[in-house]
């Protein structure tokens, strides 16, 4: 993983980017209703997959926009990059 294809700027050096962790973790709609277990799940528990994982990345030293990435964590190969708000591809 040395080049990342920012959906807004195109291919840039990995150094310009910051990883933002697992993608598609939805913020609780009713935070006041949440139990301690549900808070722990939302705040701390992570899939931490060895294999294909959905992630958020930020082009921190570029356009500073956030986007999603599908990446294989076992060999760092980037499968797909797509914009925030776009639905993750099913396959």
């Amino acid at each position: 993983m040395f080049l990342i294809n920012c959906p807004y700027c195109g291919e840039r050096d990995q150094q310009e980017f910051k990883a933002g962790g697992e993608a598609h973790i939805e913020r609780p709609k009713q935070p006041t209703e949440l139990s301690d277990d549900e808070w722990a799940e939302y705040l701390f528990m992570r899939k931490n997959i060895k294999g294909v994982q959905f992630e958020r990345w930020n082009h921190a030293h570029g356009c500073r926009k956030w986007f999603n990435m599908i990446r294989d964590t076992s060999n760092d190969e980037i499968k797909l990059v797509y914009k925030m708000g776009e639905k993750p591809p099913s396959e």
Binding site: F2, A19, D37, F44, M45, R46, I49, Q53
Partner: protein, 417 residues
């Protein structure tokens, strides 16, 4: 019975050209059933098996390891041992380990080359100074040796450090733990393996766990590449791969696995006789007995299991090293590698029971697990044998992420995680 290692056994074996040394551990095939199975044959896993057999009288134990023992993070770390952690729970945990380190070579009859050469942590800004002074006081209240050093004292203790006020991040002071130091990482794994093997523990290498079999909320055994192994107690000590094993049992962990890099230089004559760690610029350095500089870098910010890190991480560390030690400017680096570290949100480990009966996890050691190896094994063995945590690891339970009672060592632990 194992032959005792001594000067006499060394001389005796010299006569046969060192070709007749007794095997340090057997290479058994797995039995059908064990009282307890430890998943992961690194230092922590082997130590767990050793103390289970030694202190808790369990004899029918196996350690299953997917590669070879000590081939993961045990063989990839920078071997630093210290116990100068801020919080009481951490101080208790890490100093318990340090006390075992102090007699470990004798106990195992295996030279782990534990060298109490001191660990010095540097302060580079006013916040560092305040944090380090606070930690020094906290350490001393917990009975852990710690002193705060002025810039002049830092220079005196390690003369090759550039303490000029003109560098980018000048050295404003530091702390020193004299009981801290380094040990030979491979020897720790081998010593525990030999000790465990002597007490009848089966160390099964090249045996990867494929599934965990459950009956409701109780474990029944492990499906491995060498067949099914029946057991009522499984202790998982899989470091960076803890989440992978947890997923097999349908358990969620608060871990992220990230690459952490280290590198060594060409060997040179003795130049640095201590360990110097620098939090703010994230560079730490010591010298191995072979003469190589052992340099630790930081973690990448993304999840990866590839045992490779990004180039800019190493570059950043070396920039800092060169600024602090201009004498190293023409040294060549020989090797660079990565290990996969499992990091908890509070940068403290998990040594805990789980919601599944008979399944225990020892993970989340993140960037600094090596130093805890003997203590971690001892306390985890206690937890598995009694189905209850020891007083010293009670705070490091998995439920703390639900209760909110975190042991937040991020930034407090004398090194950036």
């Amino acid at each position: 019975m194992k032959n005792k290692y001594s000067i006499f056994s060394l001389i005796k074996n010299a006569f046969s050209h060192h070709e007749n040394w007794q095997k340090a551990w057997k290479d058994p095939q797995p039995k059908k059933e064990y009282d307890a199975v430890i998943v992961g044959g690194g230092g922590h896993g082997l130590a767990t098996a050793y103390y289970l057999a030694k202190k808790h009288n369990l004899k029918n134990i196996a350690v299953v390891e997917k590669g070879w023992i000590g081939g993961g993070n045990t063989g990839r770390n920078t071997t630093i041992i210290r116990s100068n952690y801020l919080w009481d729970a951490s101080a208790g945990l890490y100093d318990h380990a340090l006390k075992i380190w102090e007699g470990l070579s004798q106990e195992l009859n295996y030279n782990v080359m534990f060298s109490q050469r001191g660990v010095m942590n540097l302060a580079h800004n006013l916040q560092d100074v305040r944090d380090l002074k606070r930690r020094t006081h906290a350490n001393r209240l917990n009975g852990i040796d710690a002193v705060y050093l002025s810039t002049e004292e830092v220079k005196k203790f390690c003369p090759i450090i550039n303490t000029s006020p003109d560098i980018r991040y000048p050295v404003l002071g530091g702390t020193l733990q004299r009981r801290a130091g380094t040990a030979r990482h491979d020897a720790v794994a081998w010593g525990y393996a030999r000790g465990a093997d002597e007490m009848g523990v089966d160390i099964i290498q090249n045996c990867e766990v494929k599934a965990i079999k459950r009956n409701g909320d109780t474990v029944e055994g492990l499906e491995t590449t060498k067949g099914f192994i029946k057991t009522k107690k499984i202790g998982v000590v899989a470091a960076g791969h803890s989440s992978v094993i947890a997923n097999m049992a349908g358990l969620r962990l608060p871990l992220e696995s990230k690459p952490l890099q280290a590198l060594v230089s060409e060997p040179v004559k003795p130049i640095i006789d201590t360990v110097v760690m620098s939090n703010a610029v994230h560079a730490y350095v010591s010298q191995s007995d072979k003469g190589e500089l052992v340099i630790g870098a930081g973690t990448d910010d993304y999840v990866s299991y590839s045992q490779k890190g990004s180039h800019q991480i190493v570059e950043g560390t070396l920039n800092a090293i060169l600024e602090l030690y201009p004498i190293f400017s023409r040294m060549r680096m020989l090797r660079q590698w990565g290990g996969i570290v499992d990091i908890c949100p509070d940068a403290s480990p998990i040594l805990s029971k789980t919601t599944i009966k008979g399944l225990y996890f020892n993970c989340g050691w993140g960037t600094g697990g090596f130093k805890a190896t003997p203590g971690s094994g001892d306390l985890f063995a206690h937890t598995i044998a009694n189905d209850e945590p020891h007083r010293l690891n009670a705070a490091f339970n998995l439920n703390r992420f639900v209760s909110g009672d975190l042991v937040d060592e991020h930034g407090a632990a004398a090194v950036a995680h």
